[in-house]
Amino acid sequence: MHEFSVTKSLVDLCIQEAEKNNFKKVYKINLKIGKFTGFSPDSILFYFDYLKPNTRCSDAEIIFTEVPIRIKCRACGKENVIDEPILVCPDCGRAEIEILSGREFYIESIEGE
């Protein structure tokens, strides 16, 4: 349910950026979404269809790129990509983990004219 306000922020930000770049229409929103966030692409799309009419984003689609959870172990120095956010080093089993990626949630670019 929290995707409503998140999608509202997304649309607002796209409209601001479209105005800044003199785009009358946005056709593509390239969105990076980390696997260690609580946002669901399906819910974002659902609210996007509700929010986009009569804005510069009315004909836009969102292209999601998932960012994997990449961790680095401070103990053994190894880097790994993990499927679940269980922050333990798969190599040495220690929990001194630094998260290198997976918490992203940002607009990489917009395409339009």
Partner: protein
């Protein structure tokens, strides 16, 4: 068609507003805790007990976030606690904008601001509201696998309170398992076993909090 780089977090405006909220709390020199748990974990009872234990030395304000109604804030106000209500209406979390709207209602200075977020283990973790840190509350009847199922909150929380510890003999809750899940998400998390009903474990939690409160007071004097 042209492509332009944006490279901005979607929640950039929330983050900026959270920083402005933070400034307002800094002016009071208040320690601000964003308290997050599932519904029924005992946030309000925990807050009430905590205020009772701290009231001789620290002035506390509660900001109470609920989807609807004033049940919890009324309960606290009846006990003489200073409380401000936010009703989120449709939203399942507090965000920085909702929090900003009630800041003008704060009269006077407080040492501690406890923000009781909407009961939900998922969404509130994503939104900063101007807090010093997030406190996760987990209660024993909920099951020891919650930190495994809702990793983000437990990853971000500085401290985790395991509440209703007095019910341990009656519920199926593996304390070691819960702690293992919490530590796997967040090795630095400080874990406290308490019962807001009986007061068990509050001494230790208060010691932890007083250290932070005194550090903040000292910062003010300097």
């Amino acid at each position: 068609m042209k492509e332009v780089k944006v490279l901005k977090p979607v929640l950039v405006s929330n983050k900026q507003r959270a920083q402005e909220n933070r400034k307002k709390f800094d002016e009071m020199n208040a320690l601000v805790i964003n308290i997050i748990s599932s519904p029924g974990a005992g946030k309000t009872t925990f807050i009430h007990r905590l205020i009772e234990d701290l009231k001789d030395s620290y002035k506390t304000l509660v900001i109470e976030g609920d989807i609807k109604g004033q049940v919890d804030s009324q309960r606290l106000a009846d006990e003489g606690v200073d409380v401000i209500q936010i009703n989120t209406e449709t939203e399942c979390h507090l965000d920085a904008f909702m929090t900003a709207q009630v800041l003008p209602q704060i009269k006077g200075r407080y040492d501690l601001v406890l923000i009781e977020n909407v009961g939900n283990l998922v969404c509130p973790a994503e939104f900063e509201i101007g807090e010093d840190f997030k406190l996760a509350i987990l209660s024993t009847p909920e099951g020891d696998d919650k930190p495994f199922k809702y990793p983000l909150l437990f990853h971000l929380a500085r401290a985790v309170v395991i509440n209703k510890i007095d019910l341990l003999p009656y519920v199926d809750f593996d304390l070691d398992n819960a702690k293992r899940h919490i530590k796997n998400n967040n090795p630095k998390a400080e874990i406290f076993e308490v019962s807001a009903k009986t007061g068990q474990g509050f001494e230790e939690f208060c010691r932890f909090l007083k250290k932070l409160l005194d550090a903040r007071k000292k910062k003010n004097k300097d």
